[in-house]
């Protein structure tokens, strides 16, 4: 077996193990799904209250806004909600990262494989389950037919960008004591600049410009617009550019982090 085939097999196993580890907690995750759905109902109620009736606001009517909120609630489980970054930073802090650094496979690849496993688990047991809850309660329309061919690559790129951002949060742990603040900041910025709780089209021009210049719309706004049909090829290109750019940045920072790592004790 070639070296690359062996590496792929190793990463595949790491991803599978990560997904399997999460399976142990699927009962609790189902409880959490109900909480996530309640969050969705809260945001839907807010939007229905302010934008009631058939009148459209920036191309959104009450029904479209409901769909947008539902999509973002489902999407964030594959793009944003993952504490793997914090756990990675914690491993740096307690020194157990030493074992990961010694493995005969790429450190970054190993970490990303674990995160991919978790996101794939989330896709099935979080996103799709939530989508089912929303479909039964407030309704969920199928994706825009014209965008079907863009949806899979677009959402995969969104997931990859989210994974890289999670990994970057973990890398911060090589330079600071903890990474909780970075995770907190990423969540807040995704809700605001990423359009997770308000479509960017409703933002003042200056704020929207800042948002569009950041990677956060990749985690909610771009993939949601692809599903709704208001986005298209330009959104997929932006997703691809951010995915590639952040992956390069993560690779460079991993190299710096490895040189910086100093494990004390045993």
């Amino acid at each position: 077996m070639s070296k690359s085939a062996r590496m792929f097999r190793f990463y595949h196993t790491a991803a599978r193990m990560s997904a399997r580890a999460n399976l142990q907690y699927r009962g609790q995750h189902m409880i959490n799904n109900i909480g996530s759905a309640v969050f969705g109902f809260i945001f839907i109620a807010i939007w229905r209250s302010v934008a009631s009736g058939p009148v459209t606001h920036n191309g959104y009517d009450s029904a479209t806004l409901t769909q947008y909120i539902v999509l973002c609630q489902c999407l964030m489980w594959i793009t944003l909600f993952d504490q793997s970054g914090i756990q990675l930073a914690r491993r740096v802090r307690d020194g157990s990262i030493g074992a990961d650094l010694l493995r005969p496979v790429g450190f970054m690849g190993l970490q990303l494989a674990g995160m991919y496993g978790k996101r794939l688990y989330n896709l099935v047991f979080r996103s799709l389950t939530l989508a089912g809850i929303f479909w039964l309660t407030v309704g969920l329309l199928p994706p825009a037919p014209a965008n079907l061919w863009l949806l899979v690559p677009g959402w995969l790129l969104a997931m990859h960008t989210g994974i890289i951002i999670t990994y970057l949060i973990g890398l911060v742990g090589f330079w600071t004591v903890e990474a909780n603040w970075m995770y907190l900041a990423t969540q807040s910025l995704t809700f605001m600049l990423g359009g997770a709780s308000i479509p960017l089209d409703f933002m003042p021009a200056a704020l929207k410009a800042v948002a569009l210049a950041s990677p956060f719309p990749c985690l909610a706004y771009y993939p949601a617009t692809l599903y709704l049909g208001t986005g298209g090829v330009p959104e997929v290109i932006k997703l691809a550019l951010w995915a590639v750019g952040l992956t390069v940045l993560a690779t460079l920072l991993t190299w710096r982090a490895r040189r910086r790592a100093e494990v004390v004790g045993g």
Partner: protein
């Protein structure tokens, strides 16, 4: 051993100082964490402001009015986080067996748990809540929607809000004596109700309004009394209600806690 209230205050003062000293070991980290906690809460308000800048009102409530609700919930949350955050972390005590150590201490177990940590990084969030809620309230007084004495009432209302949050967190934590794994429950017993309470409760569907007035009575942390103060509905009882609701919620949660404690099984570690 019988403890006097002064003993609890003395211990609390000691914990606050030691919490601050602990955090100051890593000054830059303390500063960054505090700043980002404040920013994350501020961003929620910016979002709210963006929505209201476009649509003017949410169910008849304008930005200044919603700012008061927002401030009340934020300060309640800040007080809870500062003093009682360990209730939210109770699962780790059950899983690791650390609760055994609390059981053998000469303090009531709930107090022993709360005394484990006072998180001073939450002070910023508290001040930020005061600033936003206070600005909204002063604006309402200036335009005559709110009387000056109402400010004094609003300043102490977060004590009831924090007490309600402590009760909800204690009730949820108490479930851990039977279920052990309870972290996920906080999403719909605490986080979702706190988000919901920032907006006028009247916009929600009936089942959610019912829950916010009964099982998780966050409506009394802001909406019920403020709704009356602004002349939008309710009666004099709306102003008095938060206190008995908070006391009753605390009593019920503590009864559940004591009952659950009898079912506690140590992990033996």
């Amino acid at each position: 051993m019988k403890r006097r209230p002064a003993d609890y205050w003395r211990l609390f003062g000691f914990l606050l100082r030691s919490g601050l000293r602990e955090r100051m070991q890593y000054k830059a980290n303390f500063l960054i964490t505090t700043i980002f906690r404040v920013l994350s809460v501020l961003i929620d308000f910016v979002l709210l402001a963006v929505i209201l800048a476009r649509f003017r009102v949410i169910d008849g409530w304008d930005l200044a009015e919603v700012a008061v609700l927002y401030g009340l919930v934020s300060v309640s949350r800040g007080l809870f986080d500062l003093l009682a955050r360990e209730l939210e972390q109770f699962e780790k005590y059950l899983v690791s067996g650390d609760y055994d150590g609390i059981l053998v201490r000469p303090w009531p177990t709930v107090f022993g748990l709360l005394a484990r940590k006072v998180d001073v990084t939450r002070l910023g969030m508290l001040l930020q809540g005061f600033a936003i809620g206070g600005s909204g309230a002063v604006l309402l007084v200036r335009r005559g929607s709110l009387a000056w004495p109402a400010l004094a009432y609003l300043a102490v209302l977060p004590l009831c809000g924090a007490a309600i949050l402590v009760a909800v967190a204690m009730g949820t934590a108490a479930l851990g004596f039977w279920l052990v794994r309870i972290d996920e429950f906080y999403v719909f017993t605490m986080y979702a109700p706190m988000t919901a309470a920032v907006y006028p409760i009247s916009i929600y569907p009936g089942w959610l309004r019912g829950l916010l007035h009964t099982v998780v009575p966050m409506a009394f942390a802001g909406y019920v009394p403020v709704n009356y103060l602004l002349g939008k509905g309710g009666n004099g009882w709306s102003l008095l209600a938060p206190l008995p609701v908070a006391v009753l919620a605390l009593w019920l949660a503590h009864r559940l806690w004591l009952w659950g404690e009898r079912h506690y099984h140590s992990t033996g570690t």
